[in-house]
């Protein structure tokens, strides 16, 4: 009896990853991709995405939910890369310089985002989501109108022919996969970007260490209960802002890594979907709005991107129309986020009503005395 219960709890708590394992198990044979091709693709995508997804962990820790505002960090990374490619600094120095340049922009944007989220406590997610749209407008203003006219941009390959504004795509050909190729190891036809994974490893160690520091503990306290944390003498507002700033800075780094792998910047659209895909991947890995671990990130990337690679081909094989698979994976990304949000909210309500019942019972007891 008890064992059954355990299995049931396990199934319920991990329903999303299990569902994805099933989807992948069905789609992989149908799609007909070779295993070495799949493995190669997944390793590449792990190197490309994990850093970005890790950036989401810190705001979850401090109880601010899924940071849809990570798009701001992505914008900062893009602006930094545009500047670096205009200065024609390529290779590893270019990547490092872009990361350094992205820091002040990320801090500025992150602080702005954190300030606003402090004004909208209790609805952080929808607010951060709207902030990402709002900032997209400002980003366009800067990149499309101010770059070249106010911010000096020289190189013709970056600038639009009309004299100001940035081209639709900025090529990073001379920077393409320079991080990934340095120290790359080939194991049976699968290229493993060791350096990228080492950077990711360093970030993982940092996050584990950070949780144990005073600031990390403060964040967890704020995430548990803001009022209790405030009574304990923690500056709640400041802690929350720091957590968003950290997330934004990490997202900026992550975007630089992501784009050096891709090899070009789609100036006006690269960042727009990033938040959604990262959040979906994290949730597929079994994370929830208030709890996420590094393990969730890795599992999520593998499952989500396997689905992403095989779905269009499998859809084409089953229905004879390649667009079905394309739409299917977009649908799954949104559906996963929807389901995770619903589960989180119902759980929160259940806890609340349970707490209310306990209080009621305690009061009844008090009254009986």
């Amino acid at each position: 009896m008890k064992k059954d219960n355990k299995i049931f709890t396990f199934l319920r708590d991990n329903s999303v990853p299990i569902m994805f394992v099933i989807i992948c198990a069905v789609c992989i044979p149908v799609s007909g991709f070779s295993y070495s091709y799949l493995l190669n693709e997944i390793v590449t995508r792990m190197g490309r995405n994990i850093f970005l997804i890790l950036a989401l962990l810190i705001p979850i820790m401090s109880g601010m939910g899924l940071n849809f505002g990570m798009t701001l960090g992505a914008m900062a990374g893009e602006i930094a890369l545009i500047l670096v490619s205009d200065w024609q600094i390529w290779g590893i120095p270019g990547v490092v310089l872009a990361m350094i340049l992205s820091i002040p922009i990320s801090i500025l944007l992150g602080a702005f985002c954190g300030k606003i989220l402090n004004m909208a406590k209790g609805r952080e997610m929808i607010t951060s989501y709207i902030i990402s749209f709002f900032m997209n407008g400002i980003y366009q203003l800067v990149v499309l109108y101010m770059m070249g006219s106010i911010i000096p941009i020289k190189h013709f390959s970056v600038k639009l022919p009309r004299g100001y504004g940035i081209r639709n795509t900025v090529s990073l050909l001379n920077m393409r996969q320079c991080l990934d190729n340095l120290l790359a190891v080939r194991v049976g036809g699968v290229k493993i970007p060791v350096l990228t994974f080492m950077i990711i490893g360093v970030l993982c160690v940092f996050i584990v260490w950070f949780r144990k520091t005073k600031l990390g503990q403060d964040m967890r306290a704020v995430g548990q209960d803001m009022n209790v944390a405030r009574d304990a003498g923690i500056n709640v507002e400041r802690t929350r802002i720091i957590s968003i700033v950290m997330s934004t800075v990490l997202a900026g780094f992550g975007m630089v890594i992501y784009l050096q792998n891709m090899g070009n910047i789609a100036t006006y659209s690269s960042h727009s979907q990033i938040g959604m895909f990262c959040i979906a991947a994290l949730l597929v890995g079994g994370a929830s709005v208030d709890k996420a671990s590094i393990g969730n990130v890795f599992l999520g990337v593998i499952l989500f991107h396997t689905m992403f690679i095989v779905a269009p081909k499998a859809g084409a094989q089953i229905t004879g129309d390649s667009m079905i698979g394309e739409y299917f994976r977009v649908f799954v990304s949104y559906a996963v986020i929807t389901v995770a949000l619903i589960m989180y909210e119902t759980k929160k309500r259940k806890h609340k009503s349970a707490a209310a019942q306990q209080l009621q019972a305690a009061q009844n007891e008090e009254a009986a005395k």
Partner: protein, 358 residues
């Protein structure tokens, strides 16, 4: 500071300041900006009356979708970011009506009739879901909208539509991304009693249709059920104590909102002349949300006047900025201005200290 001043000696500046405070600064900036655009229009060579006609036209297309925000705000469900769900019911009605071979004004009527059961069923499910997750409505509504749009993307391809005006010519199946409404209900409302004076043209029919629905909404909010709904929104505990079924009221408001969104998209299509499928409804909630907020609504308070003022201001900016800005500084900054103004307005509303929904 104003309290220390003698009230009788209140200067005009003070009164203005108080007015700005109650009206909201961003709203004032947007209204001022639009006024400036209207004044500037003749000087930069844009015809004033054409601009006015465009604004009124776009107002008539969008007003009902903005009106769809009202019931959910009243019942405390917040801003309906799940508007695309209702839009999908409308699209199903539109495509099915054409598929069944209706033409002319009849196709519009049938589209409304067919869309209604879809809106009611989807609205019921959506309302049931929102009742389960009180407090987190807005975020989940957003993603319900997104998932339903991306789900329907697959359905538009798979559902067995055959009407040659709608499916891809060479494949013979799968709906096109845009379907022309010529011969169906293109301008069916706008053409009714249309007034044309020089460059000014007013789509009387569409405005009347909106007026009827808006009046209906106003009247409904003053019935017993409507008052109960408002009570649920302003104080659920009190409403429950007064014997109102909170969940039922919220569900009713969601169904109403979904249905209005379905009608709204049909009216939009008849003005625009095309049905847009696939990813088109994706971001349609955001303009409607920001329009009602610009009109003076908050996350938990909205009136019909907010709808009318808001839609007019929002659509005014959307139509005026491209022409005026282009002529003035030879730069098309309209997109940026639209995004910053509308999203900024939503942000402003979300950060106001309102009583958190329960």
């Amino acid at each position: 500071m104003n309290e220390t001043l003698d009230r009788t000696n209140q200067t005009l500046a003070d009164r203005l300041r108080e007015f700005a405070k109650s009206f909201g600064l961003p709203r004032l900036i947007i209204a001022g900006f639009l006024l400036l655009l209207f004044i500037a229009a003749p000087f930069v060579g844009a015809d004033f009356w054409t601009q006015i006609s465009n604004t009124i036209n776009r107002f008539s297309w969008n007003a009902i979708m903005v009106l769809a925000m009202v019931p959910m705000i009243h019942s405390g469900c917040g801003l309906n970011f799940g508007l695309p769900l209702g839009i999908i019911s409308g699209l199903l009605g539109a495509t099915l009506s054409i598929e069944f071979g209706f033409t002319g004004p009849m196709s519009f009527l049938m589209a409304i009739l067919i869309a209604t059961p879809f809106a009611v069923v989807l609205g019921t499910l959506y309302g049931w879901l929102l009742n389960k997750i009180k407090g987190g409505e807005m975020m989940i509504a957003t993603y319900v909208g997104f998932s339903s749009v991306s789900f329907m993307c697959m359905m538009w391809l798979l559902l067995p539509y055959h009407s040659p005006t709608m499916v891809w010519g060479f494949a013979g199946k799968g709906l096109r991304t845009t379907i022309s409404l010529e011969g169906f209900y293109d301008k069916v409302l706008a053409g009714f009693l249309q007034i044309n004076i020089g460059n000014l043209s007013i789509p009387t029919g569409t405005l009347l249709f909106f007026a009827v629905l808006a009046f209906g909404m106003w009247a409904f909010l003053h019935t017993k059920t409507g008052t109960a709904m408002t009570a649920v929104g302003s104080n659920p505990t009190f409403a429950r104590a007064a014997g109102v079924n909170v969940d039922k009221m919220r569900m009713l408001s969601v169904i109403l909102s979904t249905w209005l969104a379905a009608i709204g998209i049909l009216v939009y299509e008849q003005g625009f002349g095309f049905i847009q499928l696939y990813m088109a409804p994706f971001y349609m909630a955001l303009p409607a949300v920001s329009a009602i907020l610009i009109g003076g609504a908050t996350v938990n308070k909205a009136t019909i006047a907010n709808v009318i003022i808001g839609t007019f201001l929002f659509q005014g900016i959307v139509t005026m900025t491209p022409t005026v800005m282009n002529n003035m500084i030879h730069m098309d900054m309209s997109e940026v201005i639209r995004v910053v103004a509308s999203q900024g307005m939503i942000l402003y509303a979300l950060t106001r200290k309102t009583e958190a929904t329960k």
